[in-house]
Symmetry: C2
Subunit: 258 residues, 2 copies
Amino acid sequence: MSFYKLTLKYNGHRYQGWQKQPHTELTVQGQLNRALAKISKSKEVKTLGSGRTDTGVHALAQVVRVEIPLVIPPEKLVRALNSNLPDDIECLMAENADENFHPVFGSVDKTYRYIFALGKRRDPLLNQQITFMTRKLDIEKMEEACKLFVGKHDFADFFTVGTDVATTVREIFSCSLTKMEATGFFHDLCPEYFVFEVTGSGFLKQMVRLMVATIWNIGEGKIDAASLAESLRKPDGNKLAPVAPPQGLYLTKVTYNS
Amino acid sequence: MSFYKLTLKYNGHRYQGWQKQPHTELTVQGQLNRALAKISKSKEVKTLGSGRTDTGVHALAQVVRVEIPLVIPPEKLVRALNSNLPDDIECLMAENADENFHPVFGSVDKTYRYIFALGKRRDPLLNQQITFMTRKLDIEKMEEACKLFVGKHDFADFFTVGTDVATTVREIFSCSLTKMEATGFFHDLCPEYFVFEVTGSGFLKQMVRLMVATIWNIGEGKIDAASLAESLRKPDGNKLAPVAPPQGLYLTKVTYNS
């Protein structure tokens, strides 16, 4: 068997998340496995992603461990994959990998971005890529509140049960909110937007979307920063906000030591 | 009956063009008429667009004349439409209009933009909005060739038969190609792209897509600028290129005197 490390970019809009499922091929992993089986002419295909993005969530750089019974130069594997994957999944890079390479436990940190824009509740051309909303938000308060996430905390209140986890403690290395202005053609599509960016040791199910939604509630004055600090200090099983919509979320980077 | 002038933004990806059709509601005008019929509780709804965008073609500002048996403040009509239109069609503005307002013959000029990017043949996140391709193009040559379109010409070789027209002569006021660099989040999606922009008195069926495709062929060295000049001087019924794909095309502006 040969081992490869793939980097994938995908639009999660059409898919029921990353994770393959028995009843549908409409998952990103399902599509990848189908393409790999075709390329290697074998059913002996195994893949493992760095994280399970949810339905509608995108990736700019999802990292995947691939095990297939085929020796192929990495750049040829990229071309073969892009010929066999649907248009909303792209293989950016393939590298030969060590058999022991583990995309989840081997990672040093992961970065997610959440993109949202204010002033209207939707946009015909960017609805799949950005979450639009009409809430009135105090951006300074939100920028401040982002800092509370940094450090090692028990994220039990920022976690949707569904995956077995040994612990709900995670370390956040950085978390910020930035107002951005678009230029050129993209300015016509969306002149101003916000980027919530968080880098951490790992993330629980729907953790980023619960973090973003909590920051929105702080910006709207529905809850204060002290409630967030308290929830991180001593989780009580109560979430501070409903889960934010998936279409603004991107897995943007996974870092490995080697 | 009341008359309104609407400005619509839409993603043409899902639709069989602007023009309503008897056998499907999947046209932009079909969706608009359905929404207007619901709002005015009447089948006496008439709409007329400034131009018939094709399947997959977008609009940043399509102008539409609306005739409905309902008196409603324009800002309320905007809200009612956005509650009843699908997410890929947005009403940006409504104004009271004179009964004699004609969105086609009343317009002074129209502007279209075509957005494309080089270096790969697709992008998972922007496939609906930008045309991607791997052609090697001489951009300077293309910028120069754009100027040949400016002026009054017989565009018979830049026209797909299908609509009755009195003449194939049209006047182009400006035509340019510009290389752009994206910033921020959009830079991650598409760092560099090209904007072909053309403003004219009016456009024939698929005229802009034939202009763009001709410019591509000049950039690739398949034809030279002299062939374009000749085709505009004396059309011979031969097209200089196949029609460019629809997903990069936007109707961006329609200007009226009043």
